[in-house]
Symmetry: C2
Subunit: 343 residues, 2 copies
DNA sequence: GGTGAAATCCAAAGCGCTTTGGAAAACTGA
DNA sequence: TCAGTTTTCCAAAGCGCTTTGGATTTCACC
């Protein structure tokens, strides 16, 4: 069923039907009702493509997911973020189009999306330090919003980020308050902007407590369970083992716990653990009482909000770029406790 | 830059330029080269919408992800599957459009996709028992392919599935061979088709070994770490605790391990564990030597293949529906060992 | 050099919608 | 009753592409 058929069916012109359906005022209420009902019974909805052609809008947002062929890891966050953004889109009648892209092809992909007029804007995932995509998108004039930020790029642009620095500083402070002095950081890849900021928060706290930064207590890598396990095992093996560990991801934290328990130690007593928790739906940090003390911030929520921001900036193109900094909440669970006294 | 401008620039008609770009034979090689170069330097690519309108193709595949508002869980498999499918699409010049949908809205969404002519076909995720979506899509005449199968629907349709039944039967047999007799199953939600089949495989093996099915040894729920942990803790607490546990997901298996170790038992010695492993990129089952003995089948690979199947069936509409049954490989890790002798 | 065939190109219609510029019909109020 | 509004509707152009049907040019061959 298309507009032509529908309007013929109603004995009206396409103009009138189109106007009735799109809420224009120059249609009598009676006609409008009649049209709307017909549209429903014939299950008519306008072709996105034709509509897009006519209006110049795509009514779609692109999500470009870089997937370096080197470390072929799909970000575990991704599903939840998308779910959040998807809610927003469907509420606004937008579609989400996804491109999984090899790092090297990114430029080409953005140019393609732009020149094919396939999307009205894009969301940038996983920004790194000095992220080149941001400049590229600004040059292209394709509206965008970044999930995270890119240190080193100073012109204004739209982003939404968790305050990773303050979250990790607070987490470290918290451990200091419990008496810990040897605090380790098991971080994500530090080319990623978020990981960089987390380390900054961590070191800032150390400095504030007059504790030297010890490279032996810092690890950086893909945040897998095994990575958390191995890092912890190694660090606990040394003489001067940490009494507390901060992990960048709940998945790694599971590995941290395993290494601790394997050594016959008790988490929250012998070794305290704080982790960042993205509140992923399939990886919940316990029930009412969290297992891990965590800096918590829902990625799903971030998806919802960032999508909202992007749509808003698309319909108000002259607004200056908006940015949102979310504070993670520190949830105290049973994985932390006072530092064990030295015997 | 659009076709009109480009062709004007070249002093050719739109027809010729279009033909040159689309590989039609009635263009001289010299002209074609000239056109291709111009397209590259002007960074021209045809508008998807206009092209779609003209050809009647969408050059896009829809992925509809149901997200019941009750259990708001995003399938952890999802990211990897999408990554696989995405590879295929970009290789074939297709776009992937994603709809996150509340269960109740699904019918409406499919009808919308169809009547808006937004996609050439869809992938169905997470089929349940007697999945109603399959019949709906067949009625609509929208090409589709299912990731998994739907027991209870008997007309032919395109699907790709892991042989869940044989995988879990093999896993159970394997444990029997090691001397285990009390074997537990920690399964996914059994309204999901895959979980149902896994249980069938499990019970088939029990029957073949003349062991009665014991409801106390079977759990079914969302496959979280906590679920694995709690189920295991409960079962190990009883008199007649299992000596082996089969888990439906690596995430739950992490919880299983935790419960085992918490009780001071050793996995692979006191209690054996076999898990299904979807080979998710962010949740690897150890390095070279797998931690868990597992029935393994890459979800990413499934995504690649299923997308391929769907595209193939779209370009060959008269082919009968194809279906692929993948066999999971049984990888022996260190989480299994001979059944402990009774003292 | 002339013929028919092959190679090369083009104008214009059409895909399904929105929107502009008017026309016709239905109301007003004097 | 009739001019002036307001309401209600419509024909047709245009969005950027593909494709049909045809025109023109080039080529091979006698």
């Amino acid at each position: 069923m298309n507009l032509k058929e529908l309007s013929h069916n109603l004995g009206l012109s396409q103009t009138t039907v189109s106007r009735a359906l799109n809420g224009y005022p120059e249609v009598s209420p009676a006609t409008r009702r009649r049209v709307e009902e017909a549209a429903k019974t014939f299950n008519y909805s306008p072709s996105t493509r034709a509509k897009g052609l006519a209006t110049g809008q795509a009514l779609a947002i692109g999500h470009v997911i870089p997937l370096s062929s080197k470390h072929e890891m799909v970000n575990p966050i991704f599903g939840d973020f998308i779910a959040g953004a998807g809610e927003t889109y469907s509420r606004h009648g937008y579609e989400m189009i996804l491109s999984i892209v090899d790092d090297d092809d990114e430029r080409r992909i953005y140019e393609g999306l732009k020149s094919r007029r396939a999307v009205d804007g894009v969301i940038v995932h996983g920004p790194r330090m000095n992220e080149p995509r941001i400049g590229l998108l600004q040059d292209l004039g394709l509206p965008f919003a970044v999930h995270g930020r890119a240190s080193g790029y100073d012109k204004p642009y739209a982003w939404l980020d968790v305050n990773n620095r303050s979250a990790f500083q607070r987490a470290t402070d918290f451990l200091f308050d419990l008496g810990h002095r040897r605090i380790a950081l098991i971080n994500g890849l530090e080319v990623m902007d978020f990981a960089h900021r987390r380390r900054e928060g961590y070191t800032a706290s150390l400095r504030a407590h007059d504790i030297a930064v010890d490279a032996a207590l810092m690890r950086s890598g893909e945040m897998t369970e095994v990575f958390g396990y191995q890092s912890t095992r190694d660090m606990l093996a040394g003489d001067d083992a940490p009494t507390a560990i901060i992990s960048s991801s709940l998945i790694s934290a599971l590995g941290v716990r395993r290494a601790i328990e394997e050594k016959g130690l008790v988490m929250g007593k012998d070794v305290s653990v704080v982790t960042h928790d993205d509140a992923l739906s399939y990886l919940q940090n316990g029930g009412d009482v969290p297992i891990f003390t965590a800096t918590r911030s829902s990625v799903r929520d971030a998806g919802r909000k960032l999508a909202e921001m992007l749509l808003h900036s698309i319909s108000n193109p002259n607004l200056p770029p908006q940015s949102v900094l979310l504070e993670a909440e520190l949830m105290v669970g049973s994985s932390t406790g006072p530092a064990p006294r030295k015997d």
